[in-house]
């Protein structure tokens, strides 16, 4: 990083089906919470970066930069960033670039998604915009379908069983119980996952993150101080269509972003104590841990066994992940950074990583956070 960037404040709404809140209400709540938690006033914010993927389709609303700006009394300049479900990480990355270049001193990053105003079919179809619209969609694929293909292949290559996969969602649900912002604060037993409705073989309903409303915001600054700083901000991309990739059981964008981030932060993987990773589907959580280098290919399930038994020190998706917290797509990347900041502050650990991706990891973002006491 060219400059020292601190996380000066964080805030979010509860994630869930929030029928009484509009896209503006959601942003307003997250932004107000972020400003309240920071040692600053709204007037200290000199730029806004908004992350959003679907507002044109789900809310008939474009021009979210101006909408976000209108929430602050002095209407600072604002831009919108989109990288499908990885919009959050891309927005934080953009904010870091503005801060590093010196163009801004204090940036408000806000991610918002309001998905429950339209039917499930329409949302599923809109989300397919994150894939290749002329090659993947006509085959009749949805995102659960794409990850169903990935899961089938992963099981074939590494011998992962359906019972193994059940543990992933069970761990995430258990972690979400203690998170007041989570959509599903209820435990589920592993068997319940494979007994839930089959969506795209081998994936069942409880393997999939839900459709959610929600917003998350953070204030990044080179002038204001906070307990946690951003030590690395990296994004990487991959082929948009999974048919163009040499393998579908690993995501090269995640691997690349992680390697670059470790170099940028000058930290060893073994020093990282907390991870928030993008478990849009249970199988993705396993692949992510391997891509981030915490497990060898095909072995990530051992980490989840450890998490389920409670005999590992590594913190993975302590918030509940996308499965437990809900997944308002563009808010997720920012929520992960807020969660890592909170976890480091409370636990006193030094290093944490937030890993967010868009589509089938066609864009991946990795942020490494350091707790400075």
């Amino acid at each position: 990083m060219q400059r020292e960037i601190s996380i000066a404040g964080t805030g979010q709404t509860r994630f869930g089906e929030l029928w009484d809140k509009s896209i503006r209400d959601l942003m307003d709540e997250a932004v107000t919470n972020a400003i309240t938690s920071a040692q600053c006033t709204a007037l200290d914010i000199d730029t806004i970066v908004v992350a959003n993927m679907l507002a044109e389709v789900t809310n008939g609303q474009a021009h979210l930069g101006a909408l976000a700006s209108s929430l602050l009394p002095h209407h600072p300049p604002a831009i919108r960033v989109e990288a499908a479900c990885g919009s959050g990480a891309a927005a934080v990355h953009t904010a870091c670039a503005l801060l590093e270049s010196g163009r801004a001193q204090t940036v408000l990053v806000v991610g918002v998604e309001k998905m429950t105003d339209v039917s499930v079919t329409d949302v599923a179809s809109a989300l397919m915009g994150a894939a290749d619209s002329e090659r993947e969609r006509p085959a009749g694929l949805t995102f659960p379908g794409i990850f169903g293909l990935i899961a089938t292949r992963y099981m074939h290559e590494y011998g992962l069983t359906r019972d193994d996969l059940n543990l992933v969602s069970a761990v995430h649900h258990r972690n979400a119980v203690a998170n007041p912002f989570a959509q599903f604060r209820s435990e589920i037993m592993p068997e319940a996952v494979s007994r839930s409705t089959l969506v795209a073989d081998p994936l069942c309903l409880l393997d999939c993150s839900p459709i959610s409303d929600g917003a998350a915001a953070c204030i990044l600054s080179t002038t204001l101080r906070g307990d946690v700083r951003i030590a690395a901000s990296q994004i990487a991309t991959d082929q948009l269509c999974i048919a163009d990739r040499p393998t579908i059981t690993a995501f090269s964008a995640s691997q690349e972003a992680m390697e670059h981030a470790l170099m940028e932060a000058s930290v060893k993987r073994s020093e990282i104590a907390a991870i928030e990773t993008h478990d849009c589907f249970s199988i993705a959580a396993l692949i992510n841990l391997e891509d981030l280098g915490f497990a060898d290919p095909g072995r990530a399930i051992e980490i989840y066994r450890g998490l389920w038994e409670g005999n590992t020190d590594l913190g993975v998706n302590r918030s509940g992940g996308l499965k437990g917290c809900g997944h308002p797509v563009a808010a997720t990347g920012i929520k992960q950074i807020n969660d890592i900041a909170k976890q480091l502050t409370i636990s006193g650990h030094q290093w944490g990583v937030a890993h967010n991706f868009g589509g089938a990891a066609s864009t991946a973002g990795v942020h490494i956070l350091e707790h400075i006491s």
Partner: protein
């Protein structure tokens, strides 16, 4: 209408389609409620995502391309797509491929009257037509005992692995995995009696059957409910189901979902059927089937 159904998008898709008319192998697949999608590696090394015309895909299986009707857009443009079907059936051992006769198959969405028509046929030709019992892993009620036979999942898997089944497929009913199929032995026994086996079957099972027995040895009838549009057909089915009074409203919505995919399969896989009949009048339907039967004799 989606943007990929517009004439310019279809014209672009044509170019890609020409390239994907090659043989290939399955790299991965996923079975969704209404269809199966595969990631396929083609002979030239490129990969495509496409529908697989099989209920039981296996990684590494060899495939050949086949055109299917995907949709008709609002301007009446019929949009075809490339799908892939396995070159060799999993269920068919080579030595049973000597077909000794033909079979009659009735397919169609739930509630269209398949059972009624089959009962009428069996009644009209008591000495020449006999219903083949379906084998299934789901529990069978007393009333169904003549039509279905319940097997344990292990027993079913054993039959399948031993290539004793003429066709088999997996479905998900009430969140339970259910396997259904037909035993080769049952069909052969009916042939041995000099009768014609009759199956009341799902479109996907019919495709498996046509692979095992050969398409030409199946006299197959697709039954459609009356109605001009898919919506009116579905509402017709719903009325029939309600009148039967067997299913709860909750089950009904599940059945209707299956009906939607059945109607879709019936139109996209037209080649599987000798005749598509609209079941608005039971007599006309049975007469047509009977006429076809007479021709074949």
């Amino acid at each position: 209408m989606h943007s990929f159904d517009t004439p310019p998008a279809v014209a672009r898709a044509l170019k890609r389609r020409a390239k994907s008319m090659q043989e290939g192998t399955i790299i991965s697949y996923t079975v969704m409620p209404s269809h199966t999608v595969g990631l396929v590696e083609l002979a030239d090394g490129s990969r495509v995502l496409a529908e697989l015309l099989t209920a039981n895909p296996v990684i590494g299986q060899s495939l050949r391309p086949r055109m299917i009707l995907r949709s008709v857009n609002s301007e009446g443009l019929r949009i075809y797509d490339v799908a892939y079907e396995p070159v060799v059936s999993v269920a068919a051992p080579k030595d049973t491929l000597q077909v000794r006769g033909y079979i009659i198959a009735l397919s169609g969405p739930v509630g269209v009257g398949k059972t009624t028509v089959s009962a009428l046929l069996a009644k009209t030709f008591p000495d020449s037509v006999e219903l083949v019992r379906m084998v299934t892993t789901s529990p069978v009620t007393r009333a169904d005992r003549n039509e279905r036979e319940c097997l344990s999942k292990e027993k079913f898997a054993e039959l399948w692995k031993g290539k004793k089944l003429a066709a088999a497929m997996k479905m998900v009913v009430d969140d339970e995995e259910v396997w259904t199929g037909y035993r080769m032995r049952d069909i052969e026994q009916i042939w041995a009696k000099g009768r014609v086996p009759l199956v009341v079957t799902d479109v996907r099972l019919l495709r498996e059957l046509s692979r095992t027995l050969g398409r030409r040895s199946i006299l197959s009838f697709g039954l459609l409910p009356p109605g001009r549009s898919r919506r009116s057909m579905l509402s017709h089915l719903l009325h029939r189901l309600r009148a039967q009074g067997k299913a709860t409203e909750e089950q009904m919505s599940g059945l209707l979902k299956h009906a939607v995919s059945d109607l879709r399969l019936l139109s996209s896989q037209r080649d599987l059927f000798t005749d598509i009949l609209v079941n608005d009048n039971l007599e006309t339907v049975t007469e047509t089937v009977q006429a076809r039967l007479q021709q074949t004799r």
